[in-house]
C-alpha cells in the first residue's frame, strides 16, 4: 500500500511534465512539502519526446537530467507515477485529494537492468514514439526515464509472457499481484499542470491524415528525427520506408480555425522552422523543405531564427493555407492543393512527405476536470480568484513553449507557496 504523508501545508502538483516538475522542484527547494502526481510511468512529459529545443537547437535531455537529479536529491518531494487525481474536495488551505494509482507490476527493487524486457517477446505500439515503433510487454518507457523502473504492460498479465518476465528478474522486482489503489491525502494548495496534447489530426478531414500514410504530424516527425527514435534519426516515408527528401510542412493544422482550435498554438511556427534544421541535418542539400503558412509567428528573439531559415536556399515558403491533400496513387506521394496569397496562383504540389504542424490542445477535457475551476473558451484554465488555492501552470493555462511554460510554472509555485505560508501562519 502506498502511503502519502501530507498536511494542509503540503503542495499538490498535478502533472509531472516540464511545468509540473519545475513547479514541484521550485517549491520543494524552498523547503515546502510537495507531492507530484504523474499519469505516465515517468516524469518529464512531452519534453522527453522532443529531439531538440528551439531556438538553441540543444537537447531537452540536458535540462531534463538536471531536473531529474534535483528531484532525486530532494527529500521534500514525493513523486507518484502512473497516478491520476480523481477528485479534489475542500477549499483554499484545506484540500483533500483522491489519487488513483495504477499497478506498474514492478516494485522499487527494480535496478533497471532490462532482464524482464529481454525475456518477454510480445510487442506493442510504443506510445512514446506515437505508435511509430514497437516496445516490449515489459519495458522502460524511454532511455532516461525517471524513475528508472520498468513497467509491465497489463495486456500480458496472466500469460506465459508475464511469467517469463517474473522468472527473469534477479532482484524480485516483478510483482504480478499488484493492484490498483486509491489514496487520499491533504494539501493546502494545488498546482495544476496537466499540460497539452497534440490536436487530433484525424479531425482535419481535407488533409487525410487518416487516409494517407505519408501525412504525419509534427510530434511524430520529432520522433523520426531523433537518433534514438523509431527510425534511428532517418526521415523515412511510412508508406515504403524510402528516405523523404522533399518535405512539406503545413502550418495552422487545426489551430486558428473555428472548426478546430480557436487559438493560435504559438509553438508550431517555431517547431516547423526548427524541423527544417532536422531536414538539413539529415540530408544536406538533398533535403528540401517547403512551409505552407498563413503568417509566420516568430516573435521577439525568434525573429533571428526565422530569418536564418528564410536565408536557407533549401527551404521555401508558400503563403497559403493548403485547402486539401490528395494522393498520387502510383507513388503514394501526397499532393497539396490550394491557391497562394502572393499572386493567387493555383497549385497542386507533390511532396514525398507532409508534416502537419498540429496545435496544442489542453490534455484534460473541459467536462472531465475533477475539480471546480474556471476554464476559458479554448479549454485552458483562467487565472480566476474563484479557483481558490488551485493555480494553473504551463500548458494547462495557455499554449506555451517550454521556456514560457517553465517561467509560468515558477510563478504558479510561488502562488502555492504563499497559500501554504498563510496556512502555516494560522496553524502556528
Amino acid at each position: 500500500m502506498t502511503e502519502v504523508i501530507a498536511t494542509n501545508q503540503t503542495i499538490l502538483v498535478v502533472g509531472g511534465g516540464i511545468s509540473g516538475l519545475t513547479a514541484a522542484l521550485e517549491a520543494a527547494e524552498t523547503g515546502k512539502q510537495v507531492v507530484l502526481v504523474e499519469k505516465r510511468p515517468y516524469v518529464g512529459g512531452r519534453v522527453t519526446q522532443l529531439y531538440k529545443y528551439f531556438p538553441k537547437l540543444c537537447f531537452p535531455a540536458c535540462g531534463l537530467e538536471i531536473n531529474q537529479r534535483r528531484a532525486k536529491m530532494n527529500p521534500n518531494l514525493t513523486i507518484l507515477t502512473m497516478a491520476e487525481v480523481t477528485d479534489i474536495q475542500g477549499d483554499v488551505g484545506n484540500y483533500t485529494a483522491s489519487v488513483k494509482i495504477s499497478p506498474r507490476y514492478v516494485n522499487d527493487n527494480c535496478t533497471g537492468c532490462g532482464d524482464c524486457a529481454r525475456a518477454v517477446s510480445a510487442e506493442f505500439d510504443d506510445e512514446f514514439n506515437y505508435g511509430l515503433g514497437k516496445r516490449k510487454g515489459a519495458y522502460l518507457p524511454h532511455r532516461m526515464a525517471h524513475p528508472q523502473r520498468y513497467v509491465i504492460d497489463p495486456a500480458i498479465l496472466g500469460t506465459e509472457e508475464a511469467a517469463k518476465a517474473k522468472a527473469a528478474c534477479k532482484v524480485n522486482a516483478v510483482d504480478l499481484e499488484m493492484q490498483e489503489e486509491t489514496v487520499s491525502f491533504k494539501a493546502g494548495a494545488v498546482v495544476w499542470a496537466t499540460g497539452w496534447q497534440p490536436y487530433d489530426a484525424n479531425k482535419i478531414q481535407p488533409y487525410g491524415y487518416d487516409r494517407f500514410q505519408n501525412v504525419v504530424t509534427n510530434v511524430e516527425f520529432e520522433r523520426m528525427a531523433d537518433p534514438n527514435g523509431p527510425t534511428g534519426g532517418k526521415i523515412l516515408r511510412p508508406s515504403d520506408g524510402e528516405v523523404a527528401k522533399n518535405i512539406a510542412f503545413i502550418q495552422c493544422a487545426g489551430s486558428r480555425d473555428k472548426n478546430h482550435l480557436l487559438h493560435c498554438s504559438r509553438i508550431c511556427c517555431m517547431a516547423t522552422l526548427k524541423q527544417t534544421h532536422y531536414v538539413q541535418e539529415a540530408l544536406g542539400d538533398e533535403g528540401k523543405s517547403t512551409i505552407y503558412y498563413i503568417d509566420i509567428r516568430a516573435i521577439d528573439r525568434f525573429e533571428d531564427f526565422y530569418q536564418a531559415v528564410r536565408e536557407n536556399p533549401n527551404v521555401s515558403f508558400i503563403k497559403s493555407k493548403v485547402a486539401s491533400i490528395t494522393q498520387n496513387r502510383e507513388n503514394s506521394n501526397p499532393v497539396l492543393n490550394g491557391v497562394d496569397t502572393e499572386g493567387y496562383h493555383r497549385y497542386a504540389n507533390e511532396h514525398d512527405l507532409v508534416v502537419l504542424a498540429v496545435g496544442m490542445q489542453p490534455s484534460v477535457d473541459k467536462a472531465s476536470f475533477p475539480v471546480d475551476i474556471v476554464i476559458n473558451e479554448e479549454g485552458f484554465i483562467e487565472p480566476a480568484t474563484e479557483n481558490g488555492g488551485i493555480f494553473a501552470a504551463g500548458c494547462s493555462s495557455d499554449a506555451l513553449d517550454v521556456n514560457r511554460a517553465v517561467q509560468q510554472a515558477t510563478g504558479a509555485a510561488l502562488r502555492a507557496i504563499q497559500v501554504v505560508n498563510r496556512v502555516a501562519g494560522t496553524e502556528g
Binding site: P206, C252, R256, D257, K258, N259, H260, I294, D295, K319, S320, K321, V322, A323, S324, N337, G338, V339, D340, T341, Y344, R346
Partner: protein, 207 residues
Amino acid sequence: MSDLNSAMTERYHNSFLREVEANVEEGEWVKMCMQCGVCAGSCPLGNAWEHTPQKLFMMIRAGKREAVLSSDSMWMCTSCYNCIARCPRGLPITHIMHGLAHYAKRLGLAPKNQPTAQFSQIFWDNLMKKGRVNELKLGLSVYFKDGFGQGIKNALANKQLGQNMMKAKRMNAMEFFGGHSIKDTSGLQKMIKKAQEIEDAKIQGNS
C-alpha cells in the same frame, strides 16, 4: 454611369470597403478575411474563376471598385457552401458572393451577357408576370435569349428532354397560352413594388 452608381462613388470615394460593409449582404465580414486561401482552394469551380473569393476580398480592401463590381467571378458561385464550411474565420463567403453580385447588378455594373445574371433576370421577369414560374416560357426565354437561330438550335438539342417532361406531366404545352397564376397577381406586384421602394430608400439613406 447609373445615377445610383454615381451617388455611391461620390459617397464612398476611397473607401470601397466601407461601401461594401454598408450595402452588400454580409459585407461587414469582408475585413475579417485573413487571406489564407482555403476558400479559393476548396471551391470546386475555383479554376473557372478569374477572381477567387480571397482575391475579391483583398481587391475590396485595396479599393478596386470597378474591377470587383464588374467581375463575373461572383456570378459563378453555385452555392455549394464548401468555402463556408472550411473558412477558419467563419466568413459567410457564399452569401457575400451573392451579395456582391446583387449589388453590382443594382448599380448597373454586372457584366453584360453573363449567363447566370441573364438567367436570373429572365427567371424574375417570368415569376413577376403571374406570381408562379411558367416553366415552358422560362425554358423558351432561355433558349431564345441569344436570338432566333440559336433558339431553334437550343430547342432542337433539348427536344427529347422536353418531350419526356410532357410525358411525365412535368410540363404542359398549354402553359404557352397565359399559364397558371396566383389568385392576386396585381397584389403581389404592388407588394414587390413597395418592397423595392423600401430597399431603394435604405440604400440611398446608407452612409
